[in-house]
Amino acid sequence: MTRINVTVDGVRYSDEVEPRTLLVQYLREGLGKTGTVVGCDTSNCGACTVHLDGTSVKSCNVLAVQADGHEVTTIEGLATDGELHPVQRAFHETHALQCGYCTPGMIMQACDLLKENADPSEQEIREGLEGNLCRCTGYHNIVKAVQQAAKDLSSQAVGS
């Protein structure tokens, strides 16, 4: 067992974990952060995407011990002060989710994409989400959601 200190969604945790524990397992089973989910065992689906120090990672592809001393944000910590994150809002408004299983990962990845590129083209959005699979939406409305979120975020930036 190894001791790790991690901040998850703004709360500091100190836990003993088995070295082989994946970050996603630690989040789900250790902390009850079940908003983050597992969709595959080959790091292909992206359902488990979270932010590690602000950058998206597939949490099934990171060991819990690698998060030691770092900050993790999950879908559960994305909304702040009772306000949905613009990407969350955009997913809702454009109907970018059906069963919602891919959604946490998709939203976390979309946030990362928009951080890297505030004004992406449709093709850039599509390529930026290539590591996240969705079986329900055909991606059409997910692309629309990211486009809308990009607009909202930029008008927010201008506004502030």
Binding site: Q25, R28, N44, L78, G100, R126, N132, R135, C136, H140
Partner: protein
């Protein structure tokens, strides 16, 4: 933190009522914030975790199982073999023996003596954590005696190697629909014989490759046996059917079983199953008296969750010289995999009424022969039987257009049912109540820019552009709303097709709607709320929709076959009408008026010719107190309704696809996709569009990318998301979707169903477009998925054929020598 609706885009022509409004979904709030209830999230005190030991062999007898080492591993509570669970594990049954003499092998959840496909469960390890269970599963030592396995469908038909030696044959059943026999049309052999003499006969053999549903949430089951009832949570589309099957096969009384489908992450038919994993988890939990959980890995889903499609289709279409169709004969071979699954042999049969599609054939015959092989079982996958049928007929119509020398839209129009001919009884014996193929096609044509794209195609062809353009057409129909119980009975299906709903009028003004449908992404909570809000005149926000728990929604037939809205939505509406009926005399009493003078409008009971009124919520409160009711009145206005449809509904649409094909590399690229669907009345256009988009991509994926492949040992080589190539955002484009509306006449709202439309229609549209792009190079078929390699090879082979005549379809099918285009690599996988 709630979702605000301030930006809800309300078009100026938005409907006044709820029905037809693009309501944002009620379901979303939890899903976008991670406040979800997936089965795998459930943790119960003392809960144990299961891991499955699975056969690596496709066909073998089990000679011994040594679990001693596993039993001693850290955290392990026990190891159970099929033998240990034999008395209580139940059996995975099929609901649809398609013929009285169907051969059906027993399908035990945990194999006892033999396995019939790789991935079958042979032992279950129980430990305190999932990781410990998985570690210990590696230590279970199983001795197998390997048997020869039959893997290929056409090999299976020869009966040389048997998937189940004790059955004596691989053939499960044959099933026929013959228009002459049942009196719905002429004799197909006569029609074909006639066409051979001066008419047109088109003979083709098409392959429907095996697909994997690939819902995103892996299946998971939790069983808590500690209560008075055994509770099972499962990632299933069919909690009610599952409860029935458990009761029917395990000895547990139905009243002692509660099944809950909490949040379920997609299904597409893939969770329309009662699984070995569910039965095994139940059996182990009962043995140990402890809550148990099993969550599969994705690799397990791929080998154990049922697959879809997998048919060979032999087709003969006859027509007059001018292209008027006269006959269609369909001979299918369907691969059921190792076992008859819950719909099982019925999946190909569901195509029987759909091969003739929207066209006026004079004679028709459908035959399917279903076979077992030593591969993963096959069952419903989005469309189930209907995509296969639509693919065949829409590919054939293109071939006919070529033969006659006219545009593919023209040949379709020549043969389809005209809008003024509805209701129309087809050659298969189905009565289509409504539709307007002309209107949908005209709209699609315009949105697509059909003529401009044809002109571009011509330019590219003339200039010998290495990148050729092809246009693909699919004017599909489907039958939705499974299903009239009487028809199911006539087909020997084991259950009915009704749906149930209850409405509870709460004292404080909110309304609970209980539905027997079991959504897993379709947005029933939102759509049913819209229906009820309109009907009862209560705010959308005041309606709560409850589902997916046999204790809360005790009656239901669940969600599949585009049935939820058409059948389940109608039940909800009828329950609402009953509420109004029951409330009316109470309202009249409260208003001191005669019942005949009371009318209900927009949520209020009013007295005709006065401004006196009482709202339905006020009536609900008065009923709850019971202080002042008419004499002898039951103090309840709650109501139940169960709706059994008289017929199916028949959505249709015109899908147009433009594909660019690089003739030098075989690479294909989708340029444009337009679809105009007629799904009757639309409750929520936003949800409908989403269903169409998702369906389209699944259908396009069959055409271009997906296919389950086995090696010659019977190992699934596309056994993970690395090898089974699901489309990503980068592979797909944005679509143009639109609608025309001819309401269904079989239900009050006029709805028809949309869940499967995109998948059913899109596959042939894409393949037709690719073939259209390279037909001048001598190609008339490409086996799906149309990978660049296959396209390239088809072009190479086509180019080698020099005269037109050599490319024509042979006049007769030769046994064992399918008359496919030589370019298409007729034996599947030969070009892998």
């Amino acid at each position: 933190m709630t979702i605000t609706e301030d930006r809800e885009a309300q078009a100026p022509d938005a409907p006044a009522g709820e029905v037809g409004k693009a309501r944002r979904r009620k379901e979303d709030q939890r899903l976008i914030t991670g406040r979800t209830r997936w089965t795998d999230n459930i943790q119960l005190p003392g809960m144990l975790h299961l891991a499955m030991v699975r056969s690596p062999f496709a066909h073998a007898t089990i000679s011994s199982i040594d679990a001693a080492e596993a039993k001693g591993a850290p955290g392990v509570i026990g190891v159970f073999t099929g033998e240990d669970l034999k008395d209580i594990q139940g059996v995975n049954i099929t609901a649809w023996p398609v013929s009285p003499d169907q051969k059906t092998p027993d399908h035990l959840p945990v194999a006892v003596s033999h396995v019939a496909h790789a991935g079958e469960i042979v032992a279950v390890v129980v430990a305190r954590s999932a990781a410990e269970a998985r570690d210990a599963a590696e230590l279970v030592d199983v001795d197998y005696d390997e048997l020869p396995a039959v893997l290929d469908l056409k090999e299976a038909a020869k009966d040389e190697v048997l998937a189940h030696p004790d059955l004596g044959t691989n053939k499960s059943a044959t099933w026929q629909l013959d228009s002459a026999g049942q009196g719905s049309g002429g004799d197909v052999d006569e029609a074909i014989a006639k066409a051979r003499d001066g008419g047109i006969v088109i003979e083709r053999e098409y392959r429907q490759q095996r697909l994997i549903p690939a819902f995103m949430e892996p299946r998971s089951t939790v069983v808590d046996p500690t209560g008075e009832q055994v509770t099972m949570w499962s990632a299933t589309q069919i909690p009610h059917v599952l409860r029935f099957c458990i009761a029917a096969t395990t000895g547990l009384p139905e009243s002692k079983i509660r099944v809950i489908a909490p949040d379920v992450g997609g299904g597409f038919g893939g969770k329309l199953q009662t699984t070995p994993e569910e039965f095994a988890t139940l059996a182990v939990a009962r043995k140990l008296g402890k809550p148990c959980k099993f969550t599969e890995t994705r690799s397990e889903t791929m080998v154990s969750g049922h697959h879809g499609r997998d048919q060979w289709q032999k087709l003969t279409l006859s027509a007059e010289k001018d292209g008027t169709v006269t006959g269609l004969k369909v001979e299918l071979m369907a691969d059921l995999g190792a076992y008859a699954a819950i719909v099982g042999g019925g999946v190909p049969v569901l195509g029987a009424w759909m091969f003739n599609s929207i066209y006026k054939f004079g004679a028709y015959q459908f035959n399917t022969t279903n076979y077992y092989t030593n591969k993963t079982w096959v069952d419903a996958y989005r469309g189930a039987g209907r995509p296969e049928a639509t693919y065949a007929i829409e590919r054939l119509m293109d071939e006919l257009a070529v033969e006659v020398g006219v545009d593919p839209l023209e040949i379709r129009e020549k043969n389809w049912i005209k809008h003024e001919e509805f209701p129309f009884t087809t050659v298969a014996g189905m009565t289509y109540d409504s539709g307007n193929y002309e209107a949908a096609t005209a709209k699609a044509r315009e949105l697509f820019g059909y003529d401009e794209l044809r002109a571009e195609q011509k330019r590219r062809r003339e200039s010998n552009d290495p990148v050729q353009l092809g246009l693909g057409v699919s004017t599909f129909t489907e039958m939705c709303g499974l299903a009239p119980s009487r028809i199911l009975g006539a087909l020997s299906y084991g259950a009915g097709g009704w749906e149930s709903a209850s409405i509870r009028m709460l004292a404080t003004g909110t309304v609970e709607v209980v539905t027997g449908t079991s959504p897993h992404g379709q947005g029933h909570e939102t759509a049913w709320s819209q229906i009820v809000a309109d009907r009862l005149g209560v705010p959308f926000e005041n309606v709560e929709v409850l589902h997916g728990d046999t204790q809360i929604a005790p009656k239901g037939m669940d969600s599949y076959g585009s049935r939820s809205l058409v059948v389940g939505g109608e039940a909800v509406l009828r329950a609402a009408d009953k509420v109004i009926e029951k409330a009316k005399p109470i309202a009249a009493h409260l208003l001191e008026a005669s019942v005949d003078d009371v009318e209900f409008k927009a949520g209020t009971f009013g007295v005709k010719g006065t401004d006196k009124g009482v709202t339905i919520s006020e009536v609900a409160l008065a009923t709850w107190t019971g202080h002042n009711l008419p004499d002898g009145t039951e103090p309840s206005i709650d109501a139940d309704a169960t709706f059994d449809p008289d017929n199916f509904s028949f959505p249709h649409g015109t899908h147009l696809c433009a594909m660019e094909v690089d003739t030098e590399t075989g690479a294909t690229k989708m340029r444009k996709y337009v679809c105009v669907d007629d799904i009757g009345t639309i409750i929520n256009p936003l949800i409908v569009e989403g269903q169409v988009h998702g369906g389209l991509v699944q259908g396009i994926a069959q055409a271009l990318w997906e296919g389950a492949e086995y090696d010659d040992q019977g190992t699934l080589v596309t056994g993970s998301f690395v090898d089974y190539t699901l489309p990503t955002a980068a592979d797909t484009i944005s679509f143009v979707t639109d609608h025309t509306t001819s309401p269904s006449t079989y239900n009050t709202l006029g709805t028809k169903g949309v869940g499967e439309a995109g998948t059913i229609a899109s596959t042939p549209a894409v393949v037709n477009a690719i073939v259209d792009a390279v037909r001048h190079l001598g190609v008339n078929d490409i086996v799906m998925p149309c990978t660049p390699e296959r396209v390239w090879k088809a072009i190479q082979a086509g180019a080698a054929v020099t005269t037109e005549g050599e490319r024509d379809a042979a006049p007769h099918f030769d046994e064992g020598a399918p008359n496919q285009d030589p370019a298409s690599g007729a034996s599947e996988g030969s070009d892998q």
